[in-house]
Amino acid sequence: MLDQFAFIGFFLIVALIFGVAPPVMAWFVRPKGKANPRKLETYECGMRTHGETWVQFKAQYYTFAIAFVLFDVEAVFLLPWALAYNALELYAVVEAIIFILILLGGLFYLWRKGALEWM
């Protein structure tokens, strides 16, 4: 198994090289020199930027992020079950379906409570 991952290790290094190489190569050919301070201003369609960038965002983003993480974990539980699916008995399949339906019930509850609406 580690033999398979040896290639992944090399590939990881190669991918990092591919990531770092373009800016380094560009450094040799691109024009350098001090840029006009106007050019270094934050871009905002020609206007001066106003106030902090970190304006407060809707908590609604966070609601969906929570649902995402928990369904992610559910998918991770389902993946080994899916791999073993062909070797399983019917009751094991039904167990996993109960597992899915419990979370689906939670999703429907949130839906009825209006938590999935974008306000």
Partner: protein
């Protein structure tokens, strides 16, 4: 070819990671940073679980399965913890735990 690294190395690493995480929990003021420390501690626990699975019972599934359950607990803990932090932020405009002291009003 079995693993060439002794079990102790993993346990040392997990112990160090756990202590770093606990230090983060005890010494940070920002509630989100404290949660990050908790995550590091959970990771240390998981390293231990997987290392014991590998060295004591590689044929079984219990070690890996419990690591999966720890993931579920970690996800639930982070979701609820951060939701509390955001609810507190909405009413008190702070994430500094020392300022969130309801008894002082």
């Amino acid at each position: 070819m079995g693993p060439q690294i002794p079990l102790e190395w993993y346990l040392f690493l997990a112990a160090a990671l756990f202590c770093i995480g606990a230090y983060g929990v005890l010494s940070r003021r920002n509630a989100i940073a404290i949660l990050m420390g908790v995550e590091l501690m959970l990771n240390a626990v998981n390293i231990n679980l997987v290392a014991f699975w590998r060295f004591l019972e590689p044929g079984g599934a219990v070690g890996q399965a419990f690591a999966l359950f720890v993931y579920a607990v970690a996800a639930a803990e982070v979701a609820v913890g951060l939701a509390l932090i955001i609810a507190t932020w909405r009413t008190r405009e702070t994430v500094i735990l020392e300022d969130v002291d309801l008894l002082k009003g």
